[in-house]
Amino acid sequence: MIEVNVDKYVYPNGEVGLKNLRLELYGNEIVIGSTGSGKSTLLKLLNGLIPNFYGGELKGFVKIFGEKPNPRDVAYVKQIPEESITCLRVKEELTFPLIQRGMKRSAALKEAEKVAEELRIGHLLERYTFELSTGELQLVEIASAILSNSKLIVLDEPFAHLSERNAKRIIEILKDERVVVAEHRIEFSDYFERTIDLGFVKREFPELKGEIGKVIHDGSLKIREGEIVAVIGENGAGKTMLLKKLAKEMRGLDVGIVLQNPAYHLTGRRVREEVGKYLSEFELEGIAERHPQSLSVGQMRKVAIAKTFKHEVLLLDEPTAGLDVNFREKLLYLLRKHKKTAVIATHDLKLAKCCDRVVEL
């Protein structure tokens, strides 16, 4: 059993990460909650990153099967897979945890091939990690965690970058492991034995109808004024490439693009400076004076999208990854309210269904 008994955890910058949390976990849980509710903090506590790596002040304790949290016992899959890269090739990335545990290279490679086939990523083994799409990289990192033979695997938003088919396949494979998953896509909660709610309140936003005007671009994709187009497809299908291509084609128009890694977009000193007049509409007042790069991934993404709202046409790559379902509704509401034209590359089928048009790659 995993025992979490935390009175309070405060990050070194003074931000309270968790408060009064008492949990008993058995290894098949999904943790849900609003953005900033402490899901990632909980997973980092289980892995031992908090407080051993992060520092800060922890009042309380966590026991993993009677022992102190230790990265050798608990594998951790991060929210942004690009940040987990340690090796040049996929086969090396997969074997990394096994090599750390002293396994011989040939034996580790054999194990890696087996798991890669199971996850249907065998064709990626010889590829460079920096050439993979975010979704493919997410599959590699999950495979690497499975390979580590840890007592527990904790996964932070593992399905955010995965197609529904891949997500369901991963859930099926993870059934044989002890896992704790933090996820915003609550549609997957039925597949887990227990749901831990760290504070999720569903909000309603008024439904606005879009007014679709004349064709403003006819290139890789035909786009009409005021239209919201969803681009869906399997991992590695080329959704991001399409958005980048569109951005190049539409240089004559007022276009803004938000890539999957929000950190690239944030160059200001304060969130207020980055976002400007959209601060209150994106509910960012509470963090207005914070440095954008000090925020959580979800918050950074929100700021990056708000920053891009000054443009007429928005190209958004996985805009809801790392953000709760309320933001999904809110984003559509704001796009329609401000009469924006948008192309959204997403794996979130619920978001896609609410768009004016869906393009499948």
Binding site: N52, P71, K78, I85, T86, L88, L259, N261, A263, Q293
Partner: protein, 214 residues
């Protein structure tokens, strides 16, 4: 052009790790020992370019701003310095003509401590990822000189975040300073590279001695 050349340049080649590492050392040492001799520098460039099938020359384009800067300074200090610098760059870049896991294997073979080698290997593996960051940032902020400050700011921020997250990743993956490496037998082409580099090195070292004896 710079980013594309760096990206291509950092992709692995097929030469054997130990031969490449030794050759790289011999070629760059020859340039130093010869006192930036133009002929030795040109020989080093030719050997590196020929065996890497022109791959090392991509680095010259990748480091174009530095080359331009050196060109300006060479107007005062002499063109041999510029050619020597290009020679050293090509010799160093020769290591990208092998698999990085073989370079790591070569270091371990030559009895470097695994603790040290593991960090070298991770740094090498992350270089293309950093180039990717640069490519994305450049894509976002355009190519104009006006945007240079934004590109620099976003790139530096991305690199700082990457290095911080690398520390976090290594901890969370239970890094014990071990690394994946490969060692294989050299082919004829690897031995030819090593022989030519050794010959150049020996001729550079022995040249002053021969002149003295004459």
């Amino acid at each position: 052009m710079i980013v594309e050349n760096l990206k291509e340049g950092f992709k692995e080649g097929n030469l054997e790790g130990r031969c490449v590492l030794l050759s790289s050392l011999f070629l760059s040492s020859s340039i130093y020992i010869s006192g930036f001799n133009v002929l030795i520098s040109l020989c080093s460039i030719a050997i590196s370019a020929a065996f890497s099938k022109g791959k090392v020359l991509r680095f010259i384009f990748g480091f174009l701003p530095v080359i331009v800067l050196l060109f300006v300074s060479s107007l005062i200090s002499g063109f041999n310095v510029l050619i020597a610098f290009i020679g050293i760059l090509c010799s160093g870049a020769l290591i990208t003509s092998s698999k990085y896991s073989e370079i790591v294997g070569a270091l371990i073979y030559f009895r470097f401590p695994e603790k040290f080698v593991s960090y070298v290997g991770i740094s090498l593996a992350l270089l293309p990822t950093v180039i990717n960051d640069l490519e994305n940032v450049k894509f976002l902020y355009g190519r104009s000189v006006k945007e240079y400050y934004s590109i620099l700011k976003a790139f530096v921020a991305a690199v700082i975040i990457r290095s911080l997250s690398l520390g976090e990743t290594l901890y969370s993956k239970g890094f014990t300073e071990k690394i994946y490496y490969e060692v294989r037998k050299p082919n004829a082409i690897d031995l030819a590279l090593l022989s030519l580099s050794s010959l150049l090195f020996l001729s550079t070292v022995l040249q002053p001695l021969l002149f003295q004896s004459i």
